[in-house]
Amino acid sequence: MSDRRDFMGKVLGAWAGLGALGALYAAKRTWDPLPSVKAAGKTVVDVSGAKENELHTELWRGKPVFVMKVSPNDPAHKDKRLVQIGNDKFFVAIGLCTHLGCIPTYFPEKHKFICPCHGGQFNSAGEVLKSPPPKPLVIPPFKVEGTKLVLGEEGEQYKKLKAAGVVA
């Protein structure tokens, strides 16, 4: 009798446990980003009218993306993280500090970004000049099409930068 009751107890426990696991999975999926969010389209930026050392902030998947034509007298002009579009070098990066996600402010006369939250600094290729940010500003997936920059697609230059390990 007791064996039978134990067995029934275990079956009940296992069945309820399965249900709990299912409910947990459903809860997890409910918290997932929605498909419409995931499928957020690409952002196309025309850079033909860009001026040197003038920062543009585009919105891509809800995040600010910095796009700037880097002037030849900027100390960061030779940096390998810059993107070649036509004859010009462009700085492209997600404009969120890699420390805790604040938006750094650009100071054109100093050619650098300073984060308002914890004082991190980046040069105009996104390299860290002063901690706490642990790594350079992240380069988003991009593709160059003529004078257009497509954010959200992996083009040849992006793949090269990725292979060189400098995108993130």
């Binding site: 918290w31 980003p33 929605l34 969010v37 957020a40 600010p64 996600g101 308002p116 901690s131 790594k135």
Partner: protein
């Protein structure tokens, strides 16, 4: 078989007693729940906290009637509808904002009272642990609530705090402790947005309050058997002392019943507290209302200086005193270390800190260090503040590392 008197008038005392045992309930919960005589006003902080939680709950219910958890409407539903249109809407908001801030002041007083008098030892470990769980849940509740008005500080605090869940940077330990996906999962989007506001609204108004209420019950339950501590850490035989009281030896007994004796003292302290509280609500509510949060959320503009509310500043300062990875370790340390207090204090003494040798110094240094961290956390991370912040953060960590050693070396008091 229970006996029900057919002649008892409905809802009369006898009628209720037969059905709900109200006399027994009152006896067990209040009239024969014993509190030591040897206590001071700091022992009233529990009731002060319970009352403040009640104020938060009531004001929150009224705010909930008009608040709209929609990124396009949230800001106006608070700053226009509730503040300008709803009759006395400002009262609920100011009570809610002031109580949310002051509740942490009382929590810290309550915590440091417990640390000072050693009220986390000798059977009282679960009181301490359930209290720490309450502190953490209140912190989460406060953060979730701060997001709701969808102002600049709401948005950017949401951004910064959820980013902490990214863990360590991708080049640390082979990236095994780097979870960018977790951040997006928590937010339900790449950045704080509608999904984020919706789920933090749910957490703030339903899930976390339920958890808090459950933990309060656990906290009270954990208090029942060991009873509250007293000013000398004296081990009292509560049963024997209670018998004295019941036999009429009220002067000789070391204890008093919760109701009505302790309650009358509690209510007195509560009266002073509420006078102060409503003074703040009516005349100085602005300390709990950050001006930056009166700008609507703008995902493309970080406010020049982001800082948390005052009660998070000490742990925030520990976080930002270091570069990202060590900062995260130090922050994690600061979050969990208070939980371990009953186990890190190796001394058997339950006594006020001023009788415990080195522990006395430890206590006051910890208190001053945390006040220092709080002040530095509010200042921008420039110039002399940076090395000071670092020093205070190191002192905080060092204090906890030496605690087991100084308490182990402590001489037993009394020596029965």
């Amino acid at each position: 078989m229970a006996h029900f008197d057919p002649n008892a008038r409905p809802f009369s005392h006898k009628w209720l007693n037969e059905r709900l045992a109200i006399d027994t309930l009152e006896k067990v919960l209040a009239k024969e729940y014993w509190i030591p005589k040897n206590i001071n006003f700091l022992w009233a902080m529990g009731m002060v906290l319970a009352t403040t939680f009640g104020l938060l709950l009531i004001s929150g219910i009224f705010l909930l009637m008009y608040y709209i958890p929609d990124t396009k409407q949230a800001f106006d539903s608070v700053n226009h509808t509730i503040m300008q249109e709803v009759g006395y809407g400002w009262l609920w908001r100011h009570i809610h904002g002031v109580a949310a801030s002051i509740v942490f002041l009382i929590i810290y007083i309550h915590m440091f009272t417990g640390i000072y008098y050693g009220s986390y030892k000798r059977g009282r470990e679960l009181i301490w642990l359930s209290g720490m769980l309450l502190f953490v849940t209140f912190s989460a509740e406060a953060f979730a609530g701060y997001v709701l008005p969808w102002g600049q500080m709401s948005y950017w605090a949401g951004m910064v705090i959820t980013n902490l869940f990214e863990g360590f940077s991708s080049d640390f330990l082979g990236g095994h402790l780097h979870f960018p996906g977790l951040v997006e999962w928590i937010r339900g989007n790449y950045v704080p947005s509608q999904a984020f506001l919706g789920r933090f609204f749910m957490l703030h108004v339903v899930l976390l309050p339920l958890v808090i209420i459950g933990l309060i019950v656990l906290h009270f339950g954990a208090l029942r058997i060991p009873h509250v501590n007293n000013q000398d850490g004296e081990e009292i035989d509560f049963e024997a002392e209670a018998e004295k009281w019941k036999a009429g030896l009220r002067k000789e007994s070391k204890v008093i019943p919760f109701k009505p004796v302790f309650l009358s003292k509690d209510v007195f302290v509560l009266g002073i507290y509420l006078t102060f509280f409503f003074y703040l609500v009516f005349y100085h509510f602005e300390f709990a209302m950050d001006p930056v949060n009166f700008d609507p959320a703008n995902p493309l503009k970080t406010p020049p200086h982001i800082y948390p509310e005052w009660y998070f500043l000490w742990s925030y300062e520990v976080l930002r005193a270091f570069p990202k990875n060590p900062g995260l370790i130090a922050f994690g340390f600061a979050q969990v270390i208070f939980f371990l207090l009953p186990f890190l204090d190796r001394s058997p003494n339950v006594a006020p800190a001023n009788r415990r040798g080195l522990f006395k110094i430890w206590f006051w240094v910890l208190l001053i260090d945390m006040v220092g961290l709080t002040i530095l956390g509010k200042l921008p991370p420039v110039g002399i503040y940076t090395p000071f912040g670092k020093a205070f953060a190191y002192i905080f960590i060092a204090l906890w590392l030496i605690l087991p050693f100084i308490t182990k070396a402590e001489k037993p008091i009394g020596g029965k």
